[in-house]
Symmetry: D2
Subunit: 302 residues, 4 copies
């Protein structure tokens, strides 16, 4: 596999009002993303509500997306679970359905250690059967993958890349400048994509890319063409659009507020049938949804 | 189900050197615990390495233990996973195999909220099919269940009890004094059992109880008989024995060090065949195992 | 100095409505505490609002209290500041006014390290001119003093004791059982005093002791006399009284809520003239004060 | 005062081997910075070891720097302390010596609340006598100033700006795009200066600017001239130079490692007489200093 680059949205998982995967909406969402020009897809990440999906539902998502994409772009599969043995089970499914790579966090729930994190990724690389991307998500995993560890695991071929959702762009840059050998550095930020690309990042995995894939594709293409002013213009429009994740304030958790906003926007845009999020998330109310509509209009998306 | 009381060890999961559940060792461990006089068993908790077991392995543990116990004591089942839908899947298995109750944490990995935590437990109580015990484990879940929330969920019948592994004995006491209606307050501490019982706790779920169930049973019986001096004497012996979890220092994670110590001790005592812990934990070395042997000898267990 | 034992309340600092130290109220508070039978006083701790007092105000507190006490009981002085050089300045004042000991935290605000914490306490012991007590307060200092470090600093004579306000009674017990040589272990808990004494703690430094010193003195004396039932009865009454720190809920910070409650109670009991807390804390409102009055009445204090 | 812009280094505080302020070295350092073309100076920030300086030493620093600068550039003064009353004392000194503005964090050590943080800054603005800049430093203060709060305090004129050392460049950008009225957004990052300027930041406060002010001035001037390629080239050189803060690894705290590296580099460059840092920081050893020398050479600074 060559180095992963470009726009790789973490695909939301549309649900029915009963909480089941809405495969029809999911394929429409995939069409929306492909039509937007994205370079790859990442399913079963945090934006996919992976933490809320049963194993059977995860399988439905993989089958639906990979089947529908039919090889047009690579599809990466999140294998999010607490420790190596459980992650390996998810990896086996991902291999069976034809995923192009695995995205895995460090162990969580357990009290772990850098030595164990290294063993975790090395075991996954040895037995997982696909290229492994580290998912650096301190808000969920409660630890930050250090540049030292990532560089060590890049150098020995364990990792094919990292999705950095830590928000620490200084750390991202340190990694970019210090890496040797092929190693994809992907930012998970919605709002510093132009600057991450400026620093040398290879690609972007923005949850907001579900709502406006065209915007992120224009942004990345402008940057690739050296038109940084245009890239910034797109980025600033998207920064303002990203305010949708704040409309719910503090009356719910950050996952409910963010994923609920993405789904409400997709529903308002007519792409998915239901804005439902999984239990026990709090649904957005009509006022919040109305404000999301205004943000969409201001961004030229309604 | 009546209020749960007494000594309820969180049963370790012996593994083969290939990382599979060692059912023979597991039944010997169960015999060791029953022979020690424990009042119930808790399988698939943190001390069981639940975070490392695949779903198939979890099922083997449930079948093995519940089958072997044959109704002599209640067996609680941990249903440890990230959110409600995944926890409900584990609950269905627990019901199918005949568990007596479910032990569940708040959601983790996601960014959650008290309102969502309440919905989580209420959904589990409504659909799980068994009494629900909250598992308060901030070191893993990265949040503390507040006394206010627990009391609300006790009052409305959602929760049958709590296993408090937060280490906050002041909070434990606040809960004990404020609860109304039947609600089991169980301490997860190894080292403040006499004082927790003194405060009115109903029972104890000590990981170290795998190694020395007789000690914890003597402790609890002495307390029940009002012989607090004897309870303290036992407790202080067990506090000293609990130093085994510190022999590995900081060269590995807390889970490796603690679970590795329990298993090394069980192996040294001849109860389980292998001291192996699951990947990617770091094994204890000979020196560390030797020091654990000395602690066992000092505690009169070798 | 012999080992410090018994009830050592951290003395609140009454303020005028202009935010100055109210020396008249402070001496009445000291009389209230001495009349209650306390064994020593601790001024300029967190309950004294030390973080809010200017250096001049700290000096007024020291002069007022030490002058008024006139040697009847030892007076410990908090020397709370970010690092060693600033702490040493406070220590020099404490020596000058006749304090009996220094109470110091680990460095805070800076990013520190166990080696530096050891140097900090050793420097303070060498140059501070008085016995040094470590103040373990993770909620403020954002680190926990490890048992290993405290035992090392106890063994070499650096520390005369520790005020443990970590809430981790398991850690407290580990320290009690492992210490050698004279080393005072004092709990900062309001609600686990009977159990801490049961474990072997030497004394208690409860903020709530400002409001009800007689209660804590009765508790400690009952425990010393072996009447643990009576100790528990007092403790449980005090646990219920301690609910006053929760009446303000989450509309203000924990310091405002807790210190405001202590001061409101002291004002309602007629001991201090104003319930004012320092800027920028939020004052309690009439409803909250009313509820504190009810708690006082229920505890037999109004 | 007009909006603060450009390079505003947080001036290190050279110390003698006895731990006193080395005024001769300090004035040479100031000359080095002015000669480098910086736009303003910030004294008594974290990079100045403000947490380690006594009040008398802080005064020496202010007098030395402001006296020596003689109005050539504005000098901002850190007023770092736990709460409002103590911060106001430092502000009075800053006014007396002719500082151009105050830099203050949220309250720390106490358990605070957004309402209290707003009162803190409003009180400081009302009584401090100088423009107030918020210092957002979660690594020290253990909270992040929210964009909502900063924007509210910008809109009502409380704050003249913010020094954002949170490392969260997405949050920085949100602030830049949402602010109205004059409000200086300054990044405290050493390594994302080009991108912060690209996003619209007004200036930079880099600790590494002590070592290489010319580099940061070239970077900022290139950006101002629209020569972003040149800005990036400078920035990448400085990212590599910034590795000096990592040479000490984990054998000391982050403050020792970072401030020790800056001072070692200034000493190696012949600007200050001693590389000493304040007690209880750990000094760098010869090997570490040697590696810093190599980094300086690679950056063209030796």
């Amino acid at each position: 596999m060559t180095t992963l680059t470009g726009v790789i949205p973490p695909v939301c998982t549309p649900l029915t009002s009963e909480g089941e995967v809405d495969a029809g909406s999911l394929t429409r969402l995939v069409d929306h993303l492909l039509e937007g020009g994205v370079d790859a897809l990442f399913v079963l990440g945090s934006s996919s509500e992976v933490a809320y999906l049963t194993d059977a539902q995860r399988r439905v998502v993989l089958d639906t997306v990979i089947g529908h994409v039919g090889g047009q772009v690579p599809v990466l599969a999140g294998v999010i679970d607490m420790t190596t043995p459980r992650v390996l089970e998810h990896a086996a499914v991902a291999v069976a359905v034809g995923a192009a790579g695995l995205v895995a966090t460090a162990p969580f729930y357990t009290r772990t250690h850098p030595v164990e994190i290294a063993t975790h990724f090395r075991t996954l690389a040895a037995r997982g059967g696909l290229p492994v991307y580290a998912y650096d998500l301190p808000v969920s995993v409660h630890l930050k993958l250090s540049a030292e560890l990532l560089l060590e695991l890049a150098a020995d071929g364990t990792l094919a890349g990292v999705k950095d959702s830590s928000g620490d762009d200084g750390g991202l840059r340190r990694l970019i400048l210090a890496r040797e050998a092929p190693f994809s550095v992907l930012t998970g930020s919605e709002v510093t994509v132009d600057s991450a690309l400026w620093m040398g990042a290879d690609g972007v995995v923005p949850g907001l890319g579900n709502v406006d894939p065209h915007g992120y594709v224009r942004l990345v293409r402008a940057a690739a063409a050296g038109d940084w002013e245009e890239a910034r213009r797109e980025q600033e429009r998207l920064v303002r659009l990203f305010e949708i994740v704040h409309v719910a304030g503090s009356r719910m958790g950050g996952s409910s507020a963010g994923l609920g906003a993405f789904k409400a926007a997709l529903h308002l845009r007519g792409i998915i049938d239901h804005p439902a999020t999984a239990v026990p998330q709090v649904p957005l109310d009509d006022d919040e949804t109305g404000r999301i509509g205004k943000h969409l209009a201001a961004a030229g998306l309604l």
